[in-house]
């Protein structure tokens, strides 16, 4: 009996060791990361439908969304980790303080552990997307959504920022409005933001990316007056669109 047990034990040991000898794989050193985009209006979280002061108006924001591409982390050793190709940051759920505080959140797994010094991405769609239309994508793809494509311009709308204004505090917020739908062949900007992120094995980290809408809407030291710029629907808006996009970069990088 004991001989049989010893034999079985021996065979099992040989089998296990044998299996191990061909296995050269190394457990990857990976971690999870959550990235939260949070929008602010000055010192406050941006809550859609809430009222804020804006120049001589009161303002309520209706919509804030933008397309972001090539989201990447850069390690201290200058190794680049790609996180996503095309992402839609849509603050549609920020309808109260609780939801606004959650931000627009994305979870990434299997990120190599290590120290990261920056995060970079493109606001909008770079030239490699020129000429593409929703017909080039699957219907559930971000770039298939009709509301993000402007057929007249033959371009994607890479940012939608819409707001309404009360000029005389009578509760009517349609005294002025703006619909800044940014797009065009040149409507993309690279952003690289310094971070201090350390990802440890099997860890779960979070990175907040904040931007202040006031920063986006400030040109030459003053907030854009909706009475002067209510929309970006013509080619005469190109310079204004460029100003807002440049502000987008600053809003991320300097925050």
């Amino acid at each position: 009996m004991f001989k049989n047990i010893a034999f079985i034990t021996l065979v099992s040991a040989v089998f296990l060791i044998g299996c191990g000898s061909d296995d050269t794989s190394v457990t990857p050193l990976e971690s999870d990361l959550t990235i939260k985009f949070k929008s602010h209006y000055g010192p406050s979280l941006l809550v859609l439908g809430d009222t804020y002061n804006y120049l001589d108006y009161e303002v309520q924001f209706d919509k804030f969304k933008f397309i972001l591409t090539d989201l990447e982390l850069v390690s201290d050793n200058n190794e680049v980790v790609s996180l996503s190709d095309v992402t839609l940051i849509d603050f549609k759920d920020a309808v109260n303080e609780t939801e606004a505080a959650k931000g627009v959140s994305f979870d990434f797994s299997a990120i190599p552990t290590g120290n990261y010094k920056s995060i970079r991405f493109t606001i909008g769609l770079d030239s490699s997307y020129l000429g593409l239309t929703p017909a080039d994508f699957s219907s559930n793809d971000i770039l298939a959504q009709s509301e993000l494509y402007w057929a007249s311009w033959g371009n994607y709308i890479i940012t939608k920022l819409e707001a309404r204004f009360d000029a005389n505090e009578d509760g009517n917020f349609l005294d002025e409005t703006f619909q800044y739908h940014l797009g065009g062949d040149e409507a993309f900007r690279s952003v690289e933001k310094s971070i201090d992120l350390s990802l440890i094995l099997d860890g779960s980290s979070s990175l907040d990316l904040d931007l202040d809408i006031k920063d986006i809407l400030t040109i030459d030291g003053a907030l854009v007056d909706p009475a002067e710029w209510s929309a970006t629907h013509s080619t005469s808006s190109v310079g204004f669109i460029a100003d807002l996009l440049n502000n987008f970069v600053d809003a991320f990088e300097n925050n």
Binding site: D62, A135, S139, N140, E147
Partner: protein
Amino acid sequence: MKIKHLFLLPLVFVFACGTDDEVFSGDLVDISYNPQAYTIPQPFGYPQMAQPSDNKATVDGVHLGHLLFFDEILSVDSSLACAGCHIPELGFTDGLAVSTGVPGIEGPRSSMSLLNIGFVSNGLFWDGRVNNLEAQALMPVEDPIEMAASWPDIIERIQNHDEYPALFRKAFGIEDRTEIDKFLVAKAIAQYERSLVTANSKYDQVLSGSSSEEFTDEEFEGYLMFFDEPSAVADAECFHCHGGANLASNEFFNNGLQDPEYITDEGVFLVTGNSTDMGKFRAATLRNLELTAPYMHDGRITSLEGVVDFYSDSIHIAGNLDVNLSEPINLSDTEKGFLLDFLRTLTDTTYLSNPHFLDPFE
């Protein structure tokens, strides 16, 4: 207990379980199951239709869905099919302001067109309350103001039907009729609904160049107004909410239809509870508008002319009125005529000559 008696335990367990359940006899295994992918058309300008990985359309699945869609078996008294409120000749709507269910009770909302519904990717119904066609198809059967049935009763009918069990076998590979459940019924109907693709209107033909069709001068002016192209006439800018190939949007809007003092339907707010969603509804496709009167979520506008008049002159100022509608556009009668002429180019009745869109029981 001797060890050999232990072998009896599983048998005892199996028989004990079986006493309360339906008997699984594998009565369908002799029927061949050979799924063939169904090719969903991709009209000019449309994206490729995404399908759920666990319910990709097959020839037999779409066929089964076609039969179920037109079969009154799904209602409590076998008097109303899905097609009762989605009539092919009316652009898969029902021609009523609000739909009427089996008990004769009027529902609160108008029937929505199902043509090209498979391209919608962000919430179905007027208020976006479900995310996909499989979930949508489950709802009318038990809705007390629609089919007013119970799923267990409906499933029993289908399981005991002379023909359906074999068709479920061919569509989904089940081995026994007791495997038919409401989820498979919904999957089959969803497959059929995704196959309801048509885009052969004059508008499509002009855009794609697939025929020698051209817009008239009036239609072209309306096109320019609709899409905010440079034009000597007024901008209507309808495309903000009715854009893309399907002339619709995946977003929801308050279009100023309801007087904010007398809201009769709170729309998306009923789903989300967010005050910013009060009175918002889906911007439905404008395709086949001529066939789908009356208009709006409650069918309150009876004519296409009335719709253009409304957007031109009669919008109610609500707190969350879409900002694109914040200023009345006050179109002239001529401009309204241009817009109407263009909207009529969106009519496509070619699908009505295709039996795939029609009642298979007739």
